[in-house]
Amino acid sequence: MVGFLVSEAFRDLRRAGRVALSAILLITLALAALGAFWIVTSNLGHAVARWRDRVRIVVYLRHEPDAAALASLMARVKAVPGVAGTTYVSRADALASLKRVLGKDASVVDQIGQNPLSASIELTPSADASTPEAAREMLARLGAMPEVEEVAGSADWVERLSEWQRLLGMIGLGVGGILGLAAILTVTTATTLVLHARRHETEIMRLVGAPEIAVRMPLLLQGMIQGLLGALLAVAVLTVAYRLAAPHLEPLMSLTLGLGEFSFLPPAGLAALIGAGTLLGALGGWLARAGR
């Protein structure tokens, strides 16, 4: 029975001919676009995550606070939206780390006599501060605290990058969505043609009392096959494009974003694309059927 249903589905697909072919190509386009944007945004996402970890904002203090003042200051700093991690660096700590950096020349520092360094707080921004507005707001709040002398470092460009990532993600979804819709409509058209071409088979099946599933399944299956073929083609297109483009993109990526490798979709992502294609096709097939 399964063999019969599948062979009928393929026969229908051949009969839908050029329309089925355009449906398959549209699904390919939709999923390839979706996949390409997905690859780009996930790589940007990696870059953003890596840079966000590395970004340090240093808040220099006017005076070294005493223990009580420090506790209250730290509490207020931590309360600023967008602040993830805080590390207090006292003047002595700062001097010690300076000495460590200077190594054998550390004696230079001793000759100064008095410690010239300020106490500071090192911050790591959180993902909350990922919009430029939020980052700016965070920096302004920190700068406005009376104890603060100066705020150094800015997460602005990382945040802009993450902004880009999200924008590209939206565009990808939009383009993929529109193409996906066109694909569904084309599958529906192809299936409607199949429905017409198949009317004699349907009539005979009903007449001899074939179970409803045998009557309807080929239609759904041919839609799913269109979707599956389109998705497999899209995966092939993406793979080839990646193989060709990655060697050229990687140097660029490492230069601009410090990202060593330009990664492809994970197996789960590819499986999701193939599943989405099959679902698109099934939906198209089902919509045509529901129309009667």
Partner: protein
């Protein structure tokens, strides 16, 4: 085996109501050969459609093979039809498939095991005398051959009842006689047959029980 009791079928076309069947009652036993006749528009096709569940009577009782047909749901109608063979004036063969594939199509759609298909298709083709044309396409068949293929498809599952709606309407006299001989053979092997025809002469020739319809009424039941 088949029993109708006070069956009415009324079609409404706009404001006009047509009584395709008016208070029709009869009973057909297992193994009978019944000719259903009457002029065009008398209600023969409607009556057969009521029997295989394609038309629900407006009123009355219809029992086929122990089933109360008007009350059957979609899947139960399908189950009933698996016990009925139906042929029409038009052979309704699938043009892109050979005679063999047309008949195998039915078996495959009904889930017959692959290993049995070839034997059963050829068995059916032998009964209608069409074994040599198994690989021909419908367009290559004469009308008589096409009707034989349709008969083979109708009996391939050995249904207890064969319904034939004007099966020789398209055929010249010689071919019609051949088809009637094939239908008689099918009947002889134990199948109950109802043959609808508007050719009144045929009823006389076949010498079987004849039901005569006139404007939806059963006006004669003889033989």
């Amino acid at each position: 085996m088949i029993e109708l009791q006070g069956v009415w079928k009324t079609f409404s076309v706009g404001p006009v109501r047509v009584h395709a069947l008016s208070d029709v009652s009869f009973r057909i036993s297992r193994g009978e050969f019944v000719i259903l006749t009457g002029t065009s528009g008398a209600g023969k096709t409607t009556l057969l459609r009521v029997l295989y569940g394609a038309e629900r009577p407006t009123e009355g009782e219809v029992e086929v093979l122990g089933r109360d047909v008007p009350s059957l749901g979609r899947s139960e109608v399908a189950a009933l039809r698996r016990s009925l063979g139906v042929v029409f004036q038009d052979a309704k063969l699938l043009p892109a498939r050979t005679v063999y594939d047309n008949i195998a199509f039915v078996l495959r759609a009904l889930g017959t095991p692959r290993s049995q298909i070839t034997a059963r298709v050829f068995d059916a083709l032998r009964k209608v005398g069409l074994s040599s044309r198994a690989q021909a396409y419908p367009a290559q068949l004469s009308q008589g051959e096409a009707q034989r293929a349709a008969l083979a498809r109708a009996i391939v599952r050995k249904p207890p009842i064969l319904l034939a709606d004007e099966p020789t309407g398209n055929l010249d006299e010689g071919m019609a006689t051949e088809i009637h001989d094939v239908i008689k053979d099918i009947w002889t092997s134990g199948t109950t047959v109802i043959l609808a025809t508007h050719q009144a002469g045929l009823a006389a020739v076949l010498k079987r029980r004849t039901l005569v319809l006139e404007r939806g009424r059963l006006i004669k039941d003889q033989g």
